[in-house]
Symmetry: C2
């Protein structure tokens, strides 16, 4: 394993929260790996078999509608790609995940997750709380997104994920905001003018 | 307690999944109550103290943006109003819940939930799976919603919650769809014409 991955894996199993037995389990079972720009780690219609944590890089979430890609999410360092849990095992994914830049993810298969809950029941409580938190954050984000104008959505995205703009072509960002690429250009021009008056 | 509530409460604690001890706990701790049309059971900025299950009726979810109500969700019989879990205890609600018609809800306070997890740890696993399922459904719905035109959103809502249209004024539905009331009228007129040609 190369040094970068090794350091990450070490950090991953060093939490104060976990017992030594839990840490050993994670060290053995969690995969940390590099994925290349352009790689699609999940395709719409496939069955998800794992949850992912993104340590570095950027992943775009999209699905096909009338033959066109609709971008509905961006993940950057620190984000989890999951939420479907066990259900994902039995139901094909409604989205694809594409790496927009060389990235590093940890992979935690549902099989290992089930083993973990059997071995360490106390972690199930932690995971429940974590899923509830993610769900709650996502709902709040979506409420805000739906109430926002395209310009406000653009500003929110700039604030939340500024690094995105280095990795992602603007037409994907336009798709995410729900506007045509020309409208995104207008929004950006308008903001540049506002900024230059500040 | 009136007969309707009593029958509901009986049904609530009759699941084959639960042990007698669990059922007794639910019977003692879960509140079932009627709420009247127009009543706001949660106000934006308040702390949520419980999860609700809607047995009968309709609840509208909305928040204020620039002094205007933005409707972001409708709940009908069988839906859960929650997802924030313990986090809700520590963070004010970003939405309000208003009853659109006389309704019946069960109320399960977070305090009782914590007690339940202490007493019956196996139920935590069930709850984790349930939250993951809800989160997953919500994400899929949102992806679809974002990719849909206002007309498609209207049709989806008609299919998913046809009973809604009896209870909810059209301007709330327009707000939910993200269009002006006039646009909703046009959509409805267009659909009526299409239907009359079928």
């Amino acid at each position: 394993m190369d040094q970068e991955l090794e350091a990450l894996k070490k950090a991953l199993v060093s939490s104060d929260y976990n017992t030594q037995e839990e840490k050993d389990f994670f060290a053995e079972k969690i995969q940390v790996k590099k994925v290349s720009k352009g790689e699609v780690i999940l395709r719409e219609g496939q069955y998800v078999k794992a949850s992912y944590h993104l340590y570095k890089g950027c992943i775009r979430e999209y699905y096909l509608k009338d033959g066109e890609e609709r971008t509905v999410g961006f993940y950057t360092a620190g984000d989890n790609l999951t939420g479907d849990g066990e259900r994902a095992d039995t139901q094909p994914s409604s989205v694809s995940w594409e790496c927009m830049v060389d990235s590093i993810v940890s992979v935690f298969s549902f099989e290992v997750e089930r083993e973990m809950f059997r071995k360490f029941p106390r972690l199930e409580s932690m995971c429940r709380t974590e899923v509830e938190k993610q769900y709650s954050n996502f709902r709040t984000d979506m409420q805000h997104f739906r109430g926002a104008s395209p310009g406000e959505r653009y500003e929110d995205l700039m604030k939340a994920k500024p690094e995105l703009f280095q990795f992602v072509p603007l037409y994907h960002i336009a798709s995410y905001l729900g506007v045509k690429p020309e409208s995104l250009s207008r929004i950006r021009n308008r903001m540049r003018k506002v900024d230059s008056f500040k």
